[in-house]
Amino acid sequence: MSDVILRLDGISKSFDGKQVINRLDLEIKKNEFVTLLGPSGCGKSTTLRIIGGFEKPDEGCVIFEGKDITALPPDKRHINTVFQKYSLFPHMNVEDNIAFGLKLKKKSRSYIKDKIEYALGLVNMDGYGKRMPMSLSGGQQQRVAIARAIVNEPQILLLDEPLGALDLKLRQKMQLELIKIKKEVGITFVYVTHDQEEALTMSDRIIVMNKGIIQQMGSSKSIYDEPQNAFVADFIGESNIIDGIMKRDCLVNIQGVDFECVDVGFGKLEPVDVVIRPEDLTIVKRGEGYLDGTVISEVFKGAFYEIVVKVSDYEWLIQSVNPAAVGSIVGLTIIPDNIQIMHKPISEDAEVIKDE
């Protein structure tokens, strides 16, 4: 028996003739923490709403535990959602909000009472049962919304940018709490965010989307270390992305200089995208690296210096523990392992988004 709990099979969706999801295939395993990551408007919420039953796909089907649930309305699915705007029922107190789903399922009074207590404890909101949603802070409301969804023991919990409205400190705290909650309840989480750090911190698996198309799937580490195209490289963390030409296997020409690398299987003299992480570049003395350039800025970031070195018309971003004097000429070097070579995108869908 496979441990796939949900499968999206060739899902497409357009709004007003505009394609939002384009033949999307996706498998989600039991007990996984999957994150849909991508820029605003790339179709993450729409994908989630199709899973939740709030939108019907134009094409394709949603398979839940082996059964086609594409036509099933949201109230008939064993899936619950935590919405970005909390969406608590304003006329009910916290307890009644949490009990809403259980009452509809005709659970006994004592069962409901126990569940409320358990859920409030789980989200650190003991004693808030009688409060009205309006009297709670954003973070507290979101905790109640999480409790309200979890008490129903859904097979899958969908979370659409649940921390998006919170400030940074609180967001980081809630990220850790969500991971803890996830471990405790053992429910499959499908999480949507446009914040790559959040995705890297929380997920077992990240699905990077752009323009309704999956760009890459994989663990945080594989997405970060081995982006498959320039879009992913650019979106996940900061990167230097520059044009190169593959001379032969394991040799790439960048800015007129040959670099040793580890990538094979490209066409001879094929134009490629080269991705180099800022922390992988090392500053050396002039003439001792592959490239020489002028330091044009240096900013201390706490754990490291962020340095920009201009080599002809390209500005390399470097993270270094040592400072470098602005205006000085330095060399840049890198070990072959840290050079990522990628095919140029075939369609514009995989095109690098320029700095937002």
């Binding site: 949201p74 959602t81 608590l88």
Partner: protein
């Protein structure tokens, strides 16, 4: 007085001239007899059988008209929300369009439709149904009243249903609520402010819509408004007319206070 509050001057003058002074005069008439002597007789006259009966009929009529308006308005508003017609500029326009036509003209048209050889009976005869003598009946009057005041109910309910976030309804569906549950547990309780202001806007004028009663019921039914009208216009007993008016006003204010007291959170602010 600062300069800004001067802008409210015209309105204040208007209110003094056409509300405060007339109200004081009515109070004066209500509490005096023809010789100018103080008396409670005009107020107590409400409890004479003929007035009491008119009052009872008025409350009954107003009650049923209000209920009918609610039953017509909610499904319409829900359907509009479902169809995504909310927030479109033309929807409210369509709803309030009837209000732009003088209500007496509307009533006369309605009278033609309901009359014994009017459009309605014509349709009935085509369908092979027996004719209905609706003209000059209580039913006709209530149809007229509902027709007059339904837009107020719709607009009030519409406004407060429009305030309900789609996310909240989706959250309810997500937690297992079907359409009926969504209505009774979410939409209805959250639209109580609009419902209450709709009730006040329909119930109160329904009780006194003597012109509608005259036109649609052919003068056969006496609402409390008709009695008061007759005291002023026909009998020329301004003292008695004023006395009845004051009692009616007290009744209306009490019922409004009662309605909004049941909803301490939002009621008052929206109704007043």
């Amino acid at each position: 007085m600062n300069k800004r509050s001067l802008w409210s001057g015209p309105y204040i003058l208007w209110m003094i001239g056409f509300t405060v002074i007339p109200f004081c005069m009515i109070l004066h008439y209500a509490l005096t007899d023809r010789d100018g002597a103080f008396t409670f007789r005009n107020l107590l006259a409400m409890f004479e059988p003929v007035h009491l009966k008119a009052m009872t009929v008025s409350v009954e009529v107003a009650f049923f008209c209000t209920v009918i308006c609610i039953l017509l308005a909610y499904p319409l508003v829900i359907a509009m929300k479902r169809l995504g017609l909310f927030g479109k500029s033309y929807t409210i326009l369509v709803l309030i369009l009837p209000m732009w036509i003088n209500f007496i003209l509307r009533l006369l048209a309605l009278q033609m439709i309901l009359s014994n050889n009017g459009v309605l009976n014509h349709i009935f005869s085509i369908l092979g149904l027996p004719p209905h003598e609706l003209a000059n009946t209580r039913t006709a009057m209530m149809i007229g009243i509902v027709y007059d005041y339904l837009p107020y109910m719709i607009v009030s309910i519409y406004n407060s249903v429009a305030d309900i976030d789609d996310d909240i309804i989706e959250a309810a569906r997500d937690l297992g609520a079907g359409s009926l549950t969504v209505f009774f547990r979410i939409i209805l309780p959250l639209s109580v402010p609009g419902l209450l202001s709709g009730i006040v806007m329909v119930f109160v004028p329904s009780m006194t819509s003597f012109v509608t009663a005259n036109i649609m019921a052919g003068g056969k039914i006496q609402l409390i408004g008709n009695i008061i009208e007759q005291e002023f216009i026909t009998t020329m007993d301004w003292h008695l007319g004023s006395g009845l008016s004051v009692i009616l006003m007290i009744f209306v204010l009490l019922s409004m206070a009662f309605t909004s007291r049941n909803d301490p959170d939002y009621g008052m602010s929206k109704i007043w």
